[in-house]
């Protein structure tokens, strides 16, 4: 068997989908279950090509429902199992992810957002925020990272496996079609040389010993008979989620110390915003930017504190207000006006953001 997939570190110029497959390999993922859908498909293709060389396996399932549930099964067997999908596939996988949410199963799922609703486009959007954060008949006990470029895709895919297995919540890397299909330069690396230790996995079923003789059997369910029973289970999950949330939350801010206007954006759009804000600062306009890196849990406290001391917020996203809803819910009580620039299913450029900010000055 070949040794480590990546020895040391090296520069690379590749598509985001290839980056994801490399990141999963570097993270020591054991098995991928998947079903083809654009713009995610090449993650599977690269994984299917590279995985056997490192003793890893792949299963192409009959649909995304099956891929989601097989991923749950792979995790139950104690393996770093993951899947990847987009759009309508994400919709189908929400059923399995709600099981993972209820049973604290550390699945890892990569979402390459495409246009919606329905089949829409195979290209790009930020319209899967609500579904990825709160999908299924659930309460949003999930962890969702929103990367903004290929280095992030690599870093946060590795991190997703560790966050999932450390905290035992289903974890998502919410990327998009641009970050899937574009080529960018980045550094890929063996996590160990950066001091990143992979969190060990643990089998839920099939542990050593004979159940009922050497140990108790592992018995898992997601069905409850009584209201009170379910309430207790959910409140315990909530308490645990709230307890670990501050450790998980990540965000980035720029030029916010003296900003009068703050632009809020996530994912690839935050790069346009960063470019716009940098250009506007050169012209002396007091504008800053805030990017939630985790959409679940959301850096609400940090944004609320910031929003309370500026004159104007501007939410920019490639959706009709999915990030905007999160923002408003988190900063409730702050009276700072919130403008928006929504381009559902469309990319957003630096020039567009500059123009929007000018309208507010």
């Amino acid at each position: 068997m070949a040794e480590k997939p990546i020895v040391g570190e090296r520069k690379a110029f590749m598509t985001g989908n290839e980056v994801t497959a490399w990141a999963a390999l570097a993270a020591g993922a054991d098995i991928m279950y998947g079903y083809p859908i654009t713009p995610q498909t090449e993650i599977m293709q690269y994984w299917a090509r590279m995985a056997p060389k490192f003793g890893k396996t792949f299963l192409q399932t009959e649909d995304e429902i099956s891929a989601g549930f097989a991923t749950v099964g792979g995790v139950l067997a104690g393996k770093r199992a993951f899947t990847a999908t987009a759009g309508p596939g994400n919709t189908l996988m929400q059923e399995a992810m709600s099981m993972a949410e209820m049973m604290r199963i550390p699945t890892v799922m990569i979402v390459c957002q495409r246009g919606g609703p329905s089949t829409a486009t195979v290209i790009y959007s930020q319209q899967e925020v609500t579904m990825t954060c709160f999908g299924g008949n659930g309460e949003g006990f999930r962890i969702v990272y929103s990367p903004s470029g290929h280095q992030d895709v690599f870093d946060y895919t590795i991190k997703a496996f560790n966050t999932a297995w450390k905290y035992r919540f289903p974890t998502f890397v919410l990327s998009d079609g641009y970050q899937a299909k574009m080529r960018e330069s980045l550094t890929i690396y063996d996590p160990e040389i950066r001091g990143i230790k992979m969190v060990p996995t643990e089998a839920y079923v099939g542990k050593p010993g004979t159940p009922g003789v050497d140990r108790e059997p592992s018995l898992f369910r997601n069905t409850y008979n009584m209201e009170e029973e379910l309430y207790e289970v959910l409140m315990n999950i909530k308490q645990e989620y709230d307890r670990v949330a501050p450790e998980i939350v990540e965000y980035k801010e720029m030029y916010t110390e003296d900003a009068e206007i703050v632009v809020v954006a996530h994912g690839v759009v935050s790069r346009a915003v960063e470019g716009a804000v940098t250009a506007l600062r050169e012209k002396g306009i007091k504008v800053g930017f805030f990017r939630p890196i985790t959409l679940r849990p959301f850096p609400g406290q940090q944004l609320k504190e910031l929003a309370g001391r500026v004159k104007q917020l501007l939410v920019v996203e490639s959706a009709l207000g999915q990030l905007d809803k999160l923002v408003k819910q988190e900063i409730y009580g702050v009276t700072t006006p919130i403008a928006n620039y929504f381009r559902p299913g469309e990319g957003i450029t630096v020039e567009e953001v500059i123009e929007q900010v000018h309208k507010l000055v």
Partner: protein
């Protein structure tokens, strides 16, 4: 002093009496499964997955690692477990709705891929947990809550013949049989062969069990057995439909 009937060693006494209705067929199938597991010595590597519907009541039935999944999704969960750790013996336990309706795509594809798992499916001719609606296995003319005038095959189709379908779509190495709780020794043989088939790594193995549901059939003991033994077996033939070897038990 009362003498308790002999139960398989994997019987989890802490969760007995079990939660199935009086007269239900599930516990009979589970007892046969438990005995087969003990006789094959696979208690320490069996993983039991149960579906939604009455089968979910088996989630803590055995001293065996168990996971209760979603409706129809036990097949992919156990497939996922088995693929990730091939040393385990994956058992997917479900009803006729879970296997032939909502999870049919999973059953068909797991069978065609020859997944090395064992599916055990309970055929009680209707949806029992939700109160007796038409299932893929409801007999022509049979009255249920959603076929109050009887199942009309013109508008509602004919019952699904599961093991026959599995036999038709699988290749060498697969196992497909239909047993009945009215012949428990034979049913246990079928289950045991299905598990042995997985242990040998031959291929997909499938056992349908004709079962009983006096609660929703609204039958007394005599009528219950009559329906299972006479009415159901007219349509659902008992026997082996595919074995890895030449011999089949009719």
């Amino acid at each position: 002093m009362s003498v308790q009937p002999q139960m398989p060693a994997v019987w989890r006494v802490e969760t007995k009496p079990h939660k199935f209705c009086p007269g239900c067929g599930h516990p009979l199938v589970l007892k046969a499964l438990g005995e087969a597991i003990v006789e094959l010595g696979i208690q320490d590597r069996a993983v039991f997955g149960c579906d939604i519907g009455c089968s979910l009541l088996a989630w803590d039935f055995f001293n065996i690692d168990s996971v209760q999944t979603h409706h129809g999704r036990t097949t992919p969960v156990i497939t996922g477990v088995k693929r990730a750790n091939p040393d385990l013996i994956g058992i997917a336990y479900m009803g006729d709705g879970g296997g032939y309706a909502i999870g049919a795509q999973h059953l068909v594809n797991a069978a065609t891929r020859n997944e090395k798992i064992t599916v055990i499916l309970i055929n009680n001719a209707q949806y029992a947990m939700t109160g007796g609606q038409m299932a893929p296995t409801t007999l022509p003319g049979q009255k249920t809550e959603t076929t109050p005038y009887g199942r009309d095959v013109e508008t509602q189709g004919y019952p699904t013949l599961g093991p026959e379908m599995i036999a038709a779509i699988t290749r060498e190495g697969a196992y497909a049989a239909r047993g009945t709780v009215s012949n428990l020794r034979q049913l246990k043989r079928f289950i045991k062969r299905a598990l042995e088939n997985q242990m040998a790594g031959n291929g997909f193995s499938f056992v349908e069990a004709i079962s009983l549901c006096p609660t929703n059939w609204r039958t007394n003991a005599e009528q219950t057995w009559k329906f299972a033994e006479e009415e159901m077996t007219k349509y659902f033939k008992v026997g082996e439909f595919k074995t890895p070897g030449e011999k089949k038990e009719a």
